[in-house]
């Protein structure tokens, strides 16, 4: 069986498993599945920005928080239906993400990291400051969302999240294979070469930040439906690092890598059943290990192996 067929088979098996989960799994399994799906959405967006376009963002979790709070406040306080609140959350985060691209135009990795770090901090401070709106550090309790007046049941919510995630993953895949994905990769590798090919680095970064933010906003909006409560400490720097771990371990620049990383690394702490701190140690150790020993991640390493084997077969030096 060729590598491609194997990959397709694996994807088909995973899809079947995902579809059948509510049938054989407990409600906890379904909840876990939803969390995995939300993490997949966040990871796909971040990977397009960081893995493909090469822009460091330490505030992806903050953008997800903003999406969550926007959707939550609209449904809980303003009585907006979830169907409208979710897109609204996405729009808000996309605009914020787009504004982050302006510093990115002229700043390289380290300094861009600082800007995103500053943004992360400002968002944390804002969440605390506007506590009558956001619930501050105590968090925000949410109303269970409904679609067209009918509240989500356990299984219908799961399938909703599954479908939305699948669409988001396909969207991410399409972008990556499109002229924009190629432009992202070009800007990452060399702004000068990109410009020689008539690709505008500033505009491409704007697009990358906007798309990543949109995915974060979507993930945040889904979060409000799945989890009944927003705890702002869940969206701090360690949350951003966790998302970065997904894409580094899964494979930078690969949509499949984002999915693999999100699945594996969301399941892992479940297997460990520890306090948050143990989770942090494990994630960070895995991240560090991947960065030092296997920077291409799971998918990247497999892909390299495959193309080296192909090249050897074709008789190239």
């Amino acid at each position: 069986m060729t590598a491609i067929r194997l990959a397709h088979a694996a994807i088909a098996a995973a899809a079947l498993f995902a579809l059948a989960l509510p049938l054989f799994g407990s409600s906890y399994h379904v909840y876990l599945g939803e969390l995995i799906l939300i993490n997949i959405v966040a990871a796909v967006g971040l990977n397009l920005l960081t893995g493909n376009c090469g822009q460091i963002s330490l505030c992806h979790a903050s953008l997800m928080a903003i999406g969550a709070y926007t959707t939550a406040l609209l449904t809980t306080r303003a009585g907006v239906t979830y169907a409208a609140a979710l897109p609204a959350g996405i729009v808000v985060t996309t605009l914020l993400g787009a504004s982050l691209s302006y510093p990115a135009r002229r700043l390289s990795g380290l300094y861009l990291a600082l800007v995103t770090l500053g943004f992360l901090e400002v968002v944390s401070i804002a969440i605390e400051e506007f506590s009558d709106l956001t619930g501050g550090v105590r968090g925000l309790k949410l109303v269970k969302p409904e679609l067209a007046g009918w509240p989500f049941g356990t299984n219908t919510l799961y399938y909703f999240v599954l479908v939305v995630t699948a669409l988001a993953v396909c969207g991410g895949w399409n972008i990556q294979r499109s002229r924009y994905g190629r432009a992202f990769n070009a800007v990452r590798q060399s702004a000068i070469v990109a410009q020689a090919l008539a690709i505008p680095p500033g505009g491409i970064k704007l697009l990358a930040f906007s798309i990543a933010a949109a995915f974060a906003g979507l993930a945040g909006g889904l979060f409000t439906a799945v989890v009944g409560f927003i705890d702002p400490t869940e969206f701090d720097i360690s949350a951003s690092l966790r998302q970065i771990t997904f894409i580094v371990v899964g494979g930078l620049g690969s949509v499949v890598g984002s999915v693999v990383g999100a699945v594996v690394l969301t399941l892992l702490p479940e297997a460990l059943r520890g306090a948050k701190e143990y989770g942090d140690v494990v994630y960070s150790a895995i991240l560090l290990g991947a960065l030092v020993l296997a920077p291409k991640g799971i998918v990247g390493s497999l892909a390299s192996l495959h193309s080296r084997r192909r090249a050897a077969k074709d008789g190239l030096p």
Binding site: Y180, Q195, A196, L197, I199, L207, L316
Partner: protein, 257 residues
């Protein structure tokens, strides 16, 4: 009207005047050589034309439009392409993807179309792939389309660089040391390819080389730079016998880089 006109261009680089008052005209259809010893200012001049480096004085006029202060990607979009001395391909990507990236500006569809993957995006992508395939064929790269470029020998990488630069559909192509690093036979093949290319696709070439022998065979007219200024301009025969040129090259004998 000349295709490219440089009027008294100055470029300062780290406190040094890398280009001092260069005035030159390149006519459409020419194969113009730009030659000079190391440090003559050739690369700075190329960078000023392509907008990577700002010109500190003078003007760069392309097809009648002043492009001096334009952003590099806009200048490329206007029809100026370039290759790079050290190739600068997207190393982990395939030959095909490298060339496809060059077609960014010519096969356009919007972001929403890209995300949904239907309709115009699919059609335009197919057209782009066809054009990329044609370019690969023209450079005998078709069999290597899927190969990651980092695996390929240097001479082939140079061909990919050239194919990618042509994907931009330039009217003026700047070739930065296209022959450097090549063996004798590779160089012969490359020179032949470049000449054919220029003729068939009606592209004007500005070739930067510091190897005099290569330049003599490739260019129709040659501009010689030394220490930031132009010291001679003429046909290969005129340049070869020019005492100022000979003197500039003393101590910088024909090195086959």
């Amino acid at each position: 009207m000349s295709l490219l006109r440089l009027d008294d261009v100055f470029v300062n680089f780290g406190g040094v005047a890398a280009v001092r008052g260069v005035t030159m005209r390149v006519e459409a259809g020419e194969i113009r050589g730009l030659i000079g010893p190391n440090g003559a200012g050739k690369t700075s001049l190329i960078n000023a034309i392509t907008g990577i480096v700002p010109a500190n004085g003078g003007a760069v006029v392309f097809a009648g439009h002043d492009i001096t202060a334009l952003a590099p990607d806009v200048i490329s979009g206007r029809g100026i392409g370039r290759t790079f001395q050290h190739v600068e391909l997207f190393r982990e990507e395939s030959v095909l993807d490298n060339v496809l990236t060059g077609l960014y500006r010519h096969h356009v569809y919007g972001v929403l179309a890209a995300i949904t993957g239907f309709g115009s995006a699919r059609r335009v992508e197919d057209a782009a792939r066809r054009e990329a395939a044609a370019l690969l064929d023209a450079f005998a790269l078709a069999s290597l389309a899927a190969a990651p470029v980092s695996d390929l020998p240097f001479g082939i990488q140079k061909r990919v660089d050239l194919a990618r630069a042509l994907a931009v559909r330039p009217r003026l192509l700047l070739l930065d040391e296209p022959i450097s690093g090549m063996s004798e036979s590779e160089a012969d093949a490359a020179i032949a390819t470049i000449r054919t290319l220029a003729r068939e696709r009606a592209i004007t070439l500005l070739v930067v080389e510091h190897n005099m022998r290569v330049m003599m065979r490739l260019a129709e007219r040659i501009t010689v730079m030394h220490q930031g200024a132009i010291i001679a301009e003429g046909t290969p025969a005129e340049i070869r016998d020019n005492p100022a040129v000979v003197e500039a090259y003393l101590g910088d004998e024909d090195d086959d880089a």
